[in-house]
């Protein structure tokens, strides 16, 4: 039985497609490192993670909603509000911690609203979150109509510096991965997958599908807010439009990481890998001397390839399994 369960685990990882993404990441990092020897130095890695961490966080938040079978566009909106709030208030009396708390509360509120409308009123998540994206972007412009403001040094140093010689972005991503693993193996995590895979069956199995979806939206809102907070620290000021370009890349990271956009399959680890792939790709193409405007073409091709290989490994695993059964 242990052998069988190991097989099942191997299979579920393979079926998630994140293994394919990881292999792809290793290959791309290898190519990059050959052309740019400093890539694997401490500085190179730290620099790479600095470029990745915001997208990785935002896409991780999105993954939670996608897993439970819904779609969410509100991420960049929450990030924008988070950014302008930090930029306008962090030097004030709130302090760094109070500022973080305020941003998290905003994220939870937006996520909670989305979740309530979707889970309890049965509205379509794509439409609801499109609405809240536009509202949030408007609110961000209201708070800070033009780029400006200032992020206090405490925050900038805490988020982009080193903690005990480890770059903070690396720690943030490690903590994200750790929290995800805890969530995945909790009852809520099981419920997320169940609701995403087959909502009617999940309900008939006694799961509360509404609170599960609400929780997913609230958690994702909080994670977007953290992404906005980290983004603020990186750019050191406020810009209500700075997060506008993130949306499609968030979905790209989720899809490359092997999470099914239909729900029920995948996970945050894959998404973290997916975000890294998008960063490394840019650096790799730069190191190879490919002109900048080709980058998007490669981004798209890589995304399709990653999904293809993820599906391929799922087919192979299935065929192997059937062969034995």
């Amino acid at each position: 039985m242990t052998a069988a369960s190991q097989l099942a685990q191997v299979r579920s990882v393979a079926a998630g497609g994140s293994a394919a993404a990881f292999v792809l990441l290793c290959i791309m990092t290898g190519i990059y490192a050959v052309h740019e020897p400093s890539a694997l130095s401490a500085f190179g890695i730290s620099n790479l993670l600095n470029n990745t961490v915001v997208l990785a966080l935002a896409a991780s938040g999105l993954t939670l909603v996608v897993l439970c079978g819904e779609l969410d566009l509100s991420g960049p909106g929450v990030m924008a509000i988070g950014n302008v709030v930090v930029a306008t208030t962090s030097t004030g009396s709130l302090g760094a911690t109070g500022n973080l708390a305020a941003v998290l509360a905003i994220g939870a509120a937006v996520g909670g609203l989305n979740g309530f409308l979707v889970a309890y009123l049965g509205l379509q998540s794509l439409a609801v979150s499109l609405g809240s994206l536009i509202v949030c972007q408007g609110v961000a412009l209201l708070i800070l109509p033009a780029p400006g403001g200032e992020v206090t040094d405490t925050i900038v140093q805490a988020v982009s510096g080193d903690i005990r010689a480890i770059p903070a972005p690396a720690l943030i991503m490690a903590v994200t991965a750790g929290l995800w693993l805890l969530l995945k193996h909790s009852r809520l995590g099981v419920a997320l997958y169940a609701v995403g895979a087959d909502e009617p069956s999940a309900r008939l199995s006694g799961l509360n599908t509404r609170t599960t979806k609400l929780s997913a939206f609230v958690m994702s809102g909080i994670v977007y807010a953290i992404a906005g907070f980290v983004l603020s620290a990186e750019i050191g000021s406020g810009d209500p439009r700075v997060s506008d370009s993130f949306l499609l890349f968030m979905y790209a990271a989720v899809a490359i990481g092997g999470t099914s956009l239909g729900g029920g399959r995948g996970g945050v680890l894959g998404t973290l890998v997916g975000a890294c792939i998008l960063s490394v790709l840019q650096k790799m193409l730069f190191a190879l001397g490919v002109a900048d405007f080709y980058t998007n073409i490669f981004n798209g091709v890589i995304m399709i390839l990653a999904i293809f290989f993820g599906q391929l490994s799922a087919w192979l695993a299935r065929a192997r399994h059937r062969g034995q059964g």
Partner: protein
Amino acid sequence: MDVAAPPLLAFRSVCKRYGATTALDDVSFELQPAEVCGLLGENGAGKSTLVKVLSGVVAPDTGTIRIDGKPFLPRVIADARARRVSTAFQELSLVPALSVAVNLFLPRPAINRFGLVSTRRIEADAEQVLQQHGVTDISPSALVGDLPLGMRQKVEIVRAFSHRPAVLLLDEPTAALSDRQWLFSLIARALRDRTSILYISHKLDEIRALCSRCVILRNGRKVLDSEVAALSDDAIFSSMAGRSVGEVFVRASTEIRRGAKPVLEVTHLKGSGIDDIGFSVAPGEIVGVAGLEGQGQSRLFKALVGLSPLQTGAIAIEGVTVAIRSPRAARRLGVILVPEERKSEGLFTGLTTMANISLPVINQASRLHLVNQASERRLVETVTPAVKLPERYLRLSISALSGGNQQKAILARALLAGAKCLLLFDPTRGVDVGAKQHIYAMMRGFVRGGGAILFYSTELDELVGLCDRCLVLYRGAIAGELARAELSQDVILALASGHSGGRTRRANPRAHA
């Protein structure tokens, strides 16, 4: 059991409406402690609604339910479970993406001291639960989605029993299950634990074997509540259908045209799950396929329309060897599969019944790619009489129809597409008695017109009653072939379970061609 004992479950004047249709109309009945009560009725009679009301899936409009004298108003499944009511649903309530073990313990799988779900522990627990319920052939770590339908039904049943319920609802528990004795022994054990069971089934022999009493619903109303022993089969059928059904299987004289080339002839088919299968179906012939679940029947049917890959073997249609790589290619050759999973593989649930039937030949009813509704209707009405699908259903969305009428629509579509050879995979699963008779009649009419049918059924009496010949599958190969004269449920079962000895002989597959 004392007759004056208070009922365990009392269902009083319950009504439930969905829009214009009344699903339950003033239904009252009682369930005594430690009894099995049968619940019968055609599809759409309200049985499933009754189960959903008791399970907390839908709330009744009016009426009261009491368990042990206390009001019972479940809003969600968890409420019903808290009052020890548990259900094995007909449509199966397992999450395919999760393992058997996690499914068994939903919604609250055991957690360790860190608050995490321990896969190892719940798999060990699940192994124990499965063993306690006499299941040894299902691995707790297997994903439910990878299991064949029959095994999923087993898991669903084990889950319902494992909650040690006071009231157990079994909704068509044998629809995909072949090992009925296993279920019957579980029921006997639950009765000793004083569980009361509401047993919903279409199969009269099961009701007779298990139930002392039965309740019959028709159009949402209770029409009969009586001791089973006092009722004749005919009385039960006529209560369910509101008319006398008469002879269940009308034996028609054989229509086989022996001189003609076989409509379908396959030789040495090998592929995943099927091992060297060869047979032929003559015009006018109904060839049955029997087998316990997972013996290759599903693969065989899928392989014949190109849905399952073949390693070797040849398929010939009317004497011409063909390569069939997709259901579309099969359809062009006149070979049409009526699939196992009606809802997911057969229907376009958003469309009307008419559109569902006319879809494959819609070009014949369109000009310049615009559909002419009048000619679509004329086209559809050429086949609906053959399956006795009432005309008023054509305008309705197909999802509003009962299972039986949905299946009729799928059969009508197959006829309209110009089928020469129908591959019917369990066409009467979840179909009510009246519609079954119509399907049998349609099958006989189809072969009379020179068509050929390959017919798999989980219900052996259908195979015995309808087939000219029956192939019995065991482990992906043909374990034996029975001519019409030697067909009986016992013989089929013996072959299907691998006991090929005894009086049965291995017939030459070509002997009848």
